[in-house]
């Protein structure tokens, strides 16, 4: 690699592998950024392992956590009909490092993408079923995932697929399949939606299974994007084959992992790589996570951490976690009610996470976390603690300019009674709420 760096790298150059040295340092801050974005939090041992090897090896290790867990315990709670067991179980998984951390992170991304809410579905088993689909198929072939979601029972209820029949077409699912899930606005016409809706007709949910009823299906001739389509499989295929689809998926990945909302060149380049990788999410994500775009310190974009990212960063970094049902409540108050997204568009994220109400919720959550920490903390000098906490919560980043003062304050107060207070201050500091 020569020493000349072009002023404006091409999209493909940005997506090519990061080389430590020419592209920037492979240091604590960079490795932590990778882990934080990929798995929501940075566990100290994972950080050390990452630094001990190359960036490519670190990415490999992250990808090894892309397989689904088998949450047998929570299945037993489904008979209660209470969503909060499933929410609590998921919150615990998202905030605890495991061999499935990337998988859970991806499931959260897809949950925001296919945003289905129990507020309407009102069935824990169906919501759990969809979550399981996201876990099982979320890191694999996107074509399979899209096909499965198009006939997922919770989705069919959520977007009125069950109301869609030949005599009374309902366009809701077709519209969102194009607008939100597969293509984005501007890539289809209203006529395409109407025809796709006709092709999607005839599905119902009976006995918690999606069932196709030919009597309700519009069997007439239908054309979407100029192609003849008959049923849901054809519509899904038509979406996949549309040039906008791979770019739309690329946009979701770029937004989630890199923090780029919209970039036509990057989306096209990453979308092409997705198609070349036979639509495998894990393969293209591996490329993205190991890329210059992801790891170069010059290109890094800190952003407001989502409520889940906030809890996970404290869970991974400090090993401090709320009781799962409490975590779910705090997440909801901070604006991220798992399995109950506010609209079909999911959570907008970014700065929209922050309002006076949600910030108050974040500080109150910080106090709850601090109380949990205090309950389990061992005797240690306060001065040493603050540095250790900062390192654990903001790995690789220099201590903020207030750290010295805070340490001095903490030292000069009564240590015993003040520890919880200083931990709350720390966990409520804006620096901790960046991702």
């Amino acid at each position: 690699m020569d020493s000349f760096t072009p002023m404006r790298p091409t999209a493909n150059e940005l997506l090519d592998p990061f080389e430590p040295g020419p592209d920037g340092p492979w240091d604590r801050a960079t490795a932590a950024h990778l882990l934080r974005r990929a798995q929501l939090g940075v566990a100290p041992d994972a950080l050390e392992s990452a630094l001990a090897g190359t960036p490519a090896q670190a990415v490999e290790r992250v990808l090894e956590t892309s397989g689904p867990a088998d949450p047998t315990a929570v299945r037993r709670t489904l008979t209660t009909g209470e969503l909060h067991f499933v929410q609590a179980d998921w919150a615990a998984r998202l905030c605890t490092p495991s061999a499935h951390s990337l998988n859970e992170r991806l499931a959260l991304m897809w949950h925001g993408h296919f945003a289905t809410s129990d507020a309407k579905v009102d069935d824990v088993r169906l919501m759990f079923g969809q979550l399981e689909t996201l876990r099982t198929l979320g890191s694999g072939d996107f074509r399979e995932l899209l096909g499965a979601i198009a006939v997922d029972p919770a989705m069919l209820i959520w977007l009125d697929g069950v109301e869609n029949r030949a005599k009374a077409p309902n366009e809701n699912l077709a519209r969102e399949l194009f607008e939100l899930f597969g293509l984005g606005i501007g890539n289809y016409t209203e006529h395409d939606i109407q025809e796709a809706a006709r092709a999607l007709s005839g599905w119902t949910v009976r006995g918690r299974q999606a069932r196709f009823d030919p009597r309700r299906h519009d069997a007439g001739e239908k054309r979407v994007f100029g192609k003849s389509v008959s049923d849901v499989d054809d519509v899904v295929l038509a979406v996949i084959e549309h040039p906008a689809c791979s770019r739309w998926v690329a946009r979701r990945l770029l937004s989630t992992f890199v923090g780029i909302a919209e970039d036509a060149a990057l989306e096209a380049a990453l979308g092409d790589r997705l198609v070349s990788a036979d639509w495998r999410i894990d393969a293209v994500l591996g490329q993205l996570l190991g890329s210059r775009l992801m790891l170069s310190s010059e290109l890094r974009r800190p952003r407001v951490a989502s409520p889940v990212e906030y809890l996970a960063s404290v869970g991974f970094g400090l090993g401090v976690r709320l009781k799962p049902t409490e975590a779910v409540e705090h997440l909801a108050r901070m604006g991220q009610d798992l399995l109950r997204p506010p609209t079909v568009e999911g959570w907008k994220g970014g700065r929209t996470w922050i309002s006076p109400s949600s910030w108050i919720a974040r500080e109150r959550c910080a106090a709850a976390l601090a109380a949990r920490w205090e309950a389990s903390a061992t005797e240690r000098g306060l001065e040493g603690d603050l540095d250790a906490w900062l390192t654990a919560l903001m790995p690789g980043q220099g201590a903020p300019s207030w750290a010295d003062e805070l340490r001095a304050e903490a030292q000069s107060t009564n240590m015993e009674s003040a520890r919880g207070e200083w931990m709350t201050l720390l966990l409520a500091s804006p620096e901790i709420h960046l991702s």
Binding site: N172, V304, I354, E421, P430
Partner: protein, 409 residues
């Protein structure tokens, strides 16, 4: 402004508890001497919006007791006629709504009947989105970007832009605020209790440390944004506590709706300065065994609103507050086989307060004139919004639909 009107006299200090409004940044001192006129007068007006979520069954709320068709269509549900509270012209209120019937007879309740919009959408989500945005979005044919601005959010933003004051709108309740309050993706202020709207208690040393941490200037834009958010949160939390005061008003029902109305009243009277308050009562999707459920819900709404009215009257705020009560659709005229009703179309909208035109407004529904088994709409909901936007909130109406005068004057 020469002779003070009766309303202006009521607004002077005479009926206000001494010192109630002192310390609020939005209330000028010396009020008892002269009531400010013009724009600042209008800026004190408050709109409370109560959303009945699920599709309230209008025909079992405002009863057409002289229409045979109603009894035929609702053999079970029409039993409510027995305990009804007569209004006038063959219309009555459900037995559980004695309190609101009294308001009606005192001239402080307007009922607009047959409210809806063209091509009714029977999906909760879609219909509610229509009421929230103030736009009949399902009839908009262009493939435009999703429009997220709520009609109340838009009004709030316009008012804040004009006056520099905020928050303009507050949602009082535990759930996420309704989309009606959203404007350009900014999350609205939402609070359920004063206790939950407090930052964690801490020593004064810790508060000072927090101040210093937030005064730092380094770092990326996102960090600067977060620091401002943290400062705004403390400032608003303190203003809310100050406005809410320490006494809970009496006379409100001891249920969550009653508590939230009481809190709303405290914030209004305490001078928080917000112009729009939003509340929600859920449970109106009565497909099965409607009678007991609906009775409880209507009693909750009626008693709560009447308590609010009495409280505002006693504190002299009655002519500055209008309450709007709506639901995303009415229900079908015929009861179903489960002693309930399914999603319908047009329904009644209620307006409460001294400034409201009392009585039955709009065109009374006729059970014999149905569209596919539903009451057709005779008043477009946007016409109600338009009157409230232009003559109460002082903002631009967002639709071109001519307004229906629901306010006096």
């Amino acid at each position: 402004m020469n002779q003070p009107t009766r309303r202006q006299v009521l607004r002077t200090g005479a009926l206000l508890p001494a010192g109630a409004l002192l310390g609020s940044p939005w209330i000028r001192t010396g009020r008892a001497a002269a009531w400010p006129s013009g724009a600042s007068d209008a800026d004190e007006r408050v709109l409370i919006v109560v959303q009945l979520t699920g599709g309230n069954d209008g025909l079992n709320t405002v009863l057409p007791v002289e229409q045979d068709g109603w009894y035929r269509a609702r053999p079970t549900l029409s039993s409510v006629a027995a305990g009804r509270h007569d209004l006038e012209d063959g219309w009555a209120l459900h037995p559980a709504m004695n309190a609101m019937a009294s308001l009606y007879h005192e001239g402080r309740l307007g009922i607009v009947q047959g409210v809806g919009y063209p091509v009714p959408d029977r999906s909760h989500f879609h219909s509610m989105a229509i009421w929230h945005t103030g736009r009949v979005t399902h009839l908009e044919t262009d493939n435009a970007a999703r429009q997220d601005n709520g009609w109340l959010g838009a009004a709030a933003a316009e008012w804040t832009a004009r006056t520099g004051r905020s928050p303009a709108a507050v949602h009082v309740g535990p759930q996420a605020p309704p989309a009606s309050l959203i404007h350009e993706n900014r999350p609205p202020v939402a609070l359920d209790t004063i206790a939950n709207f407090q930052l964690p208690k801490r020593s004064s040393r810790a508060w000072q440390a927090r101040e210093r941490m937030l005064a730092v200037n380094e770092g990326p834009d996102a960090l600067t944004f977060l620091r401002q958010g943290a400062r705004d949160a403390r400032s608003l939390s303190e203003r809310v506590s100050a406005a809410a005061g320490s006494t809970t008003p009496e006379g409100f029902p001891a249920n969550s709706f009653g508590r939230r109305l009481a809190l709303t009243s405290r914030l209004i009277r305490g001078g928080l300065g917000a112009r729009i308050y939003s509340l929600e009562v859920g449970g109106f999707d009565t497909h099965n065994d409607q009678l007991p459920l609906h009775e409880n819900l209507l009693r909750t709404v009626s008693n709560g609103l009447a308590a609010l009215d009495a409280d505002l009257q006693a504190s002299g705020w009655s002519d500055r507050v209008v309450t709007l009560v709506f639901s995303e659709f009415g229900r079908r005229v015929h009861e179903n086989l489960s002693r309930g009703t399914d999603h319908g179309a047009a329904g009644p909208v209620f307006l409460m307060g001294a400034p409201v035109r009392g009585g039955l407004l709009g065109q009374a529904p006729d059970i014999e004139q149905l569209e596919r088994g539903d009451l057709p709409f005779t008043t477009d909901f946007r016409s109600i919004y338009a009157d409230l936007q232009s003559r109460w909130l002082g903002v631009q109406p967002i639709s071109g639909v001519p307004s229906l005068r629901v306010l006096e004057g």
